[in-house]
């Protein structure tokens, strides 16, 4: 993988022992020195004990994807080495606890039988005879360097200094693994300690303890001369200002705050809940209005220029979408966030919002399905579901963001579309976007203006009341968009019903009105086609005379863009069409790009759902497809091999990728 920029680091251990925290310190340390990082988190649906790991790819220039290979494996439990020993790149290192050398494979109960048998077959040894040493030997035979660390010695030293018992100190094993990695690469202890202070914030005692652990680890690495026997070295880079280090749950939450979302409902579900937690944590919102511009604000004596978001945990997902919709009826920008099983429950609420033209935003983080599926693993299996969910026909918009940064801007757009077109909008993301972290230069909170659509105010209502005009929530208009009134506004009332209704919102079964209402609602899809610029619906990374056109959607974007760069260096011209509004699909634009081309579709699902959709709307079929559905995101290294095969004319029509531990 010499052609892939940057380095890759992998930390692994038992769930609940600080993998995420360790990765957080590592990424913060790198960011502090001006490195760009991309981190990918993998974990079981489990609180404690199962194997959890975290890949961090980093470089001087931006990185947008992960590779399933490492330059350093930082392990503090045995299982991690058993699982990942062969993923090392040339000249890579394995850091592990030297006490574990003789631990037997058969004693690790969290390793699946399937994997134990595979290891046994690989080593040609019975499972009961295999120890970690065999696995280390296997790695060494591939040129991977072994760096045993005496975890106990480090902890004893710290224990002697702090009088903390060893049992308590084992909680810092993750910091030993991180510190050893950074020491190996010549990173400064002082900067590492800054990173530790940043991650643990105000918890002074924890900061001090972990600083001591880092220091003792550095001493051991030096005394063993390890820092002289590893080639990859970091240097402090010039950097202007700070980097934002964020995951997708956070950028969506930030997008919601900026968009003016002031009501969020949720029912706990992985990988969506963290977004709601983040919002609740920031429920009081700073505002920057000029008070005299806003008599309403003065009137209501707002304190300290602050607004707020109410985050409401419901009893189930049906309540989550219906409560969000109920709030939206009063005019507040309202939203809910969920994942597969949650959206399955929400479907009836989606239909009600659809027939009643209520602007509500649903952020849907896909995970492996069907049913409970793979609760903590990623997939793009819900595209077909979200565009069709619900009985009957009603318009909706489905946006699929390509990465963590795009998710921020798409979140704001989602609310604008929802209000402008008065319909539910689904922002389709996945676990990869939710849980990965990336360094960004910042987020532009003024890039997108707020568009609240066609709203009638109290004043206007009074005027029409005076001329004897009754307000009609579902008034037939030329565009199909009726004036919206926030429930609770003076001088009006209106009705809404899940039944078909007339302009006032009362039940009707009249065939003529029914037909007109259907046409009014469904007609909004053509309005969307007409009004929303193509730049907001698709990104076309065009090149002259491409060797290949890649088509994809959602979280594969970063991997594909990174791949384009790698292949460009090899002389291949690759272009990429990223479909961002998957419903309504910008079919004529897609057609104009793809007609008469050999194209390749890349998707993290079994049936290449976007390709099917494109075929349905344009009659065009991909020449090749690359799919993956083992619950692990397509990685840059495996995609490189698969696309290379296509470029060399050696690929079958369909390639199924299998990478990931």
């Amino acid at each position: 993988m010499n052609n892939i920029r940057g380095y890759s680091w992998l930390i692994g251990g038992a769930q609940g022992t600080g993998i995420e925290r360790g990765a957080s310190i590592f990424t913060s340390a790198l960011a502090l020195w001006g490195y760009r990082v991309f981190g990918k988190r993998e974990y079981y649906s489990n609180i404690m004990g199962e194997h959890s790991y975290y890949y961090v790819r980093f470089d001087e220039k931006p990185v947008r994807s992960h590779i399933e290979r490492y330059h350093i494996l930082a392990a503090y439990d045995v299982e991690t080495v058993f699982r990942h020993n062969l993923e090392g790149l040339e000249g890579s290192a394995i850091i592990f606890n030297q006490l574990h050398r003789n631990t037997k494979l058969s004693t690790i109960h969290t390793i699946e039988e399937r994997l134990a048998h595979d290891i046994s077959a690989r080593l040609k040894k019975p499972i009961n005879d295999i120890t970690l040493q065999d696995i280390l030997d296997e790695a060494e035979s591939l040129g991977i360097k072994i760096f045993p660390i005496d975890y106990n010695e480090i902890l004893s030293k710290v224990s002697a200094k702090t009088k903390e018992p060893m049992v308590v100190l084992t909680r810092t094993n993750n910091v030993i693994a991180v510190s050893a990695s950074l020491a190996l690469m010549g990173y400064s202890l002082e900067s590492l300690q800054d990173a530790i202070a940043y991650v643990f914030e105000k918890r002074k005692k924890v900061v001090e303890l972990n600083m001591l652990v880092a220091e003792a680890t550095y001493e051991q690495v030096k005394s063993k001369g390890y820092d002289n026997s590893f080639n990859i070295k970091l240097r402090k880079l010039n950097k202007n200002g700070k980097f934002l280090l964020v995951n997708g749950n956070q950028t969506v939450a930030l997008g919601k705050l900026v968009a003016g979302c002031r009501f969020q409902t949720y029912y706990p579900i992985t990988p969506a809940s963290d977004e709601s937690f983040f919002l609740e944590d920031n429920e009081i919102i700073d505002l920057q209005p000029t008070l005299d511009e806003y008599p309403l604000i003065q009137e209501s004596k707002i304190l300290d220029n602050s607004g707020s978001i109410v985050v409401f945990q419901t009893e189930d997902e049906i309540a989550a979408i219906t409560a969000a919709t109920g709030a939206a009826l009063t005019g507040v920008r309202s939203s809910t966030s969920t994942s597969g099983p949650g959206l399955s429950l929400m479907v009836e609420g989606l239909g009600w919002a659809g027939i009643n033209e209520v602007p509500v935003v649903i952020v849907h983080y896909q995970r492996g399905g069907p049913s409970t599926g793979l609760p903590t693993r990623t997939e793009q299996g819900d595209l077909r579901f979200v565009i069709h969910a619900g009985h009957g026909e009603f318009p909706r918009i489905v946006l699929a963001s390509g990465d963590i940064e795009e998710a921020f801007y798409d979140t704001i757009r989602a609310f604008n579309y929802a209000e402008r077109y008065q319909l539910p909008v689904i922002l389709l993301l996945d676990k990869y976007i939710a849980n990965s972290v990336v360094t960004l230069d910042g987020l532009d909170t003024k890039r997108i203006k707020i568009d609240r659509g066609f709203v009638m105010t109290e004043k206007e209502l009074l005027r029409s009341k005076e001329i004897g005009e009754q307000y009609k929530r579902f008034k037939f208009t030329e565009t199909g968009i009726s004036p919206r009134v926030f429930a609770g506004t003076k001088y009006a009332v209106y009705w809404a019903t899940g039944d078909e209704h007339d302009e006032l919102g009362h039940i009707t079964e009249d065939p003529v009105i029914r037909q007109k209402m259907m046409e009014k609602r469904m007609g909004k899809l053509s309005l969307i086609e007409k009004e929303i610029p193509i730049e907001e619906r698709a990104s076309y990374f065009k090149v002259d005379k491409p060797n290949l056109t890649i088509v994809s959607w959602g979280s594969t974007k970063g991997t594909i863009i990174d791949l384009m760069e790698v292949l460009d260096n090899e002389g291949y011209k690759i272009e990429f069409l990223q479909v961002r509004m998957v419903h309504p699909l910008p079919a004529s634009f897609i057609n104009s790009v793809l007609a008469n081309k050999n194209w390749l579709v890349i998707e993290n699902n079994y049936s290449a759902q976007l390709a099917g959709l494109i075929a349905e709307k344009t009659g065009l079929f991909p020449r090749y497809q690359i799919v993956k559905y083992n619950g692990r995101q397509i990685s840059l290294d495996e995609l490189y091999i698969a696309v290379k095969r296509v470029l060399e004319g050696k690929a079958p029509e369909r390639q199924v990728l299998e990478g990931g531990a």
């Binding site: 002031r262 309540a319 219906t322 939206a328 009826l329 009063t330 707020i450 926030f486 429930a487």
Partner: protein, 325 residues
């Protein structure tokens, strides 16, 4: 005194398609009367209903009316109330709608003590789907359209509401609109979650608990030989169950025990009136206000989110700073 709103201000011209003699008429009329007597501005009132005959009620009331999904009136209502705590929010649910398919919402709404009112239209059958057994139909009863007697026991709405944490629990009778109107007024004025279980005959499908039955049919006084009405008013017996912070544990237990006895009364004597009022708890909105000081004066539904030029006015710079390194 001249009143701002007339009774007719709460009526609509929508054609009413309930069956003749339906108890829903009584509930509708009591509701309109209550809104009128409280002089609530129709544009300050939000009605939410589910599915079934009761679900149509909002269409007959001149107020913001939302006829939602089967069983889901409560979460819709709660969402609206939390976005605009200054508005009057009333949920109108059926017995199957509110206590069957919507039971989970009913239970969890009680836990929160949000300041809103739930009115249960309780006729023991699913009327609109032609008379199936609802969760309040008693074991062994075989109403007109049932092929076999009801094989399940009935839920007791009063006791369920108590178990869930509702802080105002009452029962009304659809044909005593005056009494029901007073209950609705009290429920609206109560600070916290109020529930009224309204007993109503379904003249089309419930041929057992009919208007006549409630009026005393077959309930003969052995002394006089006359029919004794089954329904009686709790307040006429001196019953009054209000729980306050000042009460001792023993006193509360005694009151609750008394309430449970009354709530289990059925058959020849059926009490209506206020069963339970609990003044010990803050509302959900009060609790939110403790976290968000300007929540009530500047709630989600009233907040400005953009300036005149249309740019967002939310300032996330402090959060971004925290996430930066």
């Amino acid at each position: 005194m001249e009143l701002r709103f007339k009774l007719t201000d709460y009526r609509t011209a929508v054609h009413n398609n309930w069956c003749p003699g339906c108890g829903d008429f009584g509930i509708l009329s009591a509701l309109q009367q209550a809104l009128y007597e409280l002089q609530l501005d129709p544009s300050n009132v939000l009605l939410f209903s589910g599915i079934g005959c009761s679900g149509k009620t909002p269409h007959y009331v001149n107020a913001y009316g939302f006829h939602t999904l089967h069983g889901r009136a409560l979460p819709y209502a709660i969402g609206a109330k939390l976005a605009r705590p200054d508005l009057e929010v009333i949920a109108l649910v059926g017995d199957g709608d509110g206590l069957g398919i919507g039971a989970g919402h009913f239970v969890n709404a009680g836990r929160r003590n949000i300041d809103f009112t739930v009115i249960i239209f309780d006729n023991e059958v699913y009327g609109l789907t032609k008379g199936q057994a609802s969760p309040t139909l008693k074991l062994g009863m075989q109403t007109k359209s049932l092929p076999k007697p009801n094989i399940s026991q009935a839920v007791n709405p009063i006791l369920l509401a108590y178990a869930c944490g509702y802080t105002f629990i009452a029962r009304g009778y659809a044909y005593d609109t005056n009494h029901l109107k007073e209950l609705i007024k009290q429920a609206i004025l109560h600070k916290g979650s109020a529930v009224i279980d309204v007993i109503q005959p379904c003249p089309t499908y419930n041929d057992i608990h009919t208007k006549d039955w409630f009026a005393g049919k077959g309930n003969i006084d052995p002394k006089t030989g006359k029919e004794i009405p089954r329904i009686y008013k709790l307040e006429s017996t001196g019953y009054n169950c209000v729980i306050t912070n000042e009460m001792s544990e023993e006193e509360i237990s005694r009151k609750v025990a008394e309430m449970i006895v009354k709530a289990n009364e059925w058959g020849d004597r059926i009490p209506i009136g206020v069963f339970y009022r609990d003044l010990r708890y803050d509302t959900y909105e009060d609790r939110l206000e403790k976290r968000i000081p300007n929540y009530k004066v500047y709630p989600p539904g009233k907040q400005l989110i953009a300036n005149k030029e249309g740019y967002p006015i939310t300032d996330i710079s402090k959060i971004l700073e925290k996430l930066s390194i």
